[in-house]
């Protein structure tokens, strides 16, 4: 036996309360999934910017220029992307920038660590990621 208690008849595209709820639930789920996808892409973008900035810094010859290069590179990478303009914060750790030699005479590369954080334009959520790059101990060689 068929029950049509909630159906409105005689119109094109009739919808019962139950099916309307299902449609709303499905749309809400799709919205949640899209929202999660946007968050994933934002974190990936910030992570890429952090590693790109670290690599750019590691090619510099001093800690000062490395900091400036990392900051510039990270901001440029995030320009027009998932981050809200003006919200990008770049922290550069160059304490161990200079390569040296270990006690047993082995070359020991220096390091640049970069942490990039920002607020996403779409959802206003804070995201951050870290990156690093080694500094070549052979960079002064001809």
């Amino acid at each position: 036996m068929t029950t049509h208690s909630n159906l409105v008849h005689g119109e094109a595209g009739t919808l019962s309360l139950g099916s309307a709820l299902v449609v709303v639930a499905v749309l809400a789920l799709i919205g949640v999934f899209v929202h999660q996808g946007a968050a994933i892409m934002a974190v990936d973008e910030v992570s890429g910017a952090a590693f790109g900035a670290a690599r750019a810094a590691a090619r510099q010859t001093s800690a000062e220029t490395a900091t400036a290069a990392a900051d510039h590179r990270a901001r440029r990478a995030l320009l027009g992307g998932a981050c809200r303009p003006g919200s990008t914060v770049v922290l550069v750790d160059t304490r161990r920038f200079e390569p040296d030699v270990s006690s047993d005479g082995r070359p020991r590369p220096g390091h640049v660590f970069v942490r990039v954080s920002c607020v996403t334009s779409a959802e206003g959520k804070a995201v951050s990621a870290s990156g690093f790059a080694p500094v070549s101990p052979y960079r002064d060689r001809p």
Binding site: M1, T2, T3, H4, N6, L7, T14, L15, S16, G18, S19, A20, V22, A25, V26, L29, I30, V32, F33, Q36, G37, I40, M41, V43, D44, S47, G48, F51, A54, R55, P99, S102, D104, G105, R106, P107, R108, P109, H111, F113, A129, S130, G131, F132, A133, P134, V135, S136, P137, Y138, R141
Partner: protein, 133 residues
């Protein structure tokens, strides 16, 4: 046939379709998380491979057949840096003049935890060429 209709669609069909959508969405979202984590681990692995390549004593490497000590030294230098990023350096090897590094980590899967899978293992391989050899 008894049909408790939802707008002309049997409830069973509606429930099944919604469940499939939820399950598919959960898989897609958490796979997205894992894919993004793989990209991050890949970047760490590439940086670690470069680190290991820089750390190899190339003169010692070329003058002796015993590569083991050099690789151990490279691993000792690269491992703490990888750990600082929250991952684990699994291995450092040489393939000709290419340093091959494997980095491992875990990625939480918040949606799949509903089905009892709280995290997935993520591995990535990084390579760097010994250009100074």
């Amino acid at each position: 046939m008894t049909r408790d209709d939802v707008g002309g669609v049997p409830i069973m069909v509606a429930v099944l379709a919604t469940s499939l959508l939820v399950f598919g969405g959960v898989l897609i979202v958490d796979n997205g998380f894992v894919g993004a984590a793989e990209a991050r681990v890949g970047r760490v692995a590439d940086a670690a491979a470069l680190e290991a390549a820089y750390a190899l004593d190339l003169h010692a490497y070329r003058s002796t057949a015993a590569v083991g000590p050099e690789l151990r030294a490279a691993r000792d230098l690269a491992a703490p840096v990888v750990r600082r990023s929250g991952y684990v350096l699994e291995s450092v090897d040489l393939d000709g003049s290419v340093v091959v590094v494997v980095v491992r980590g875990t990625q939480p899967t918040p949606w799949m935890s509903v089905f009892g899978v709280g995290e997935l293992s993520v591995r990535a391989v990084g390579r760097a060429r010994l250009e100074l050899a």
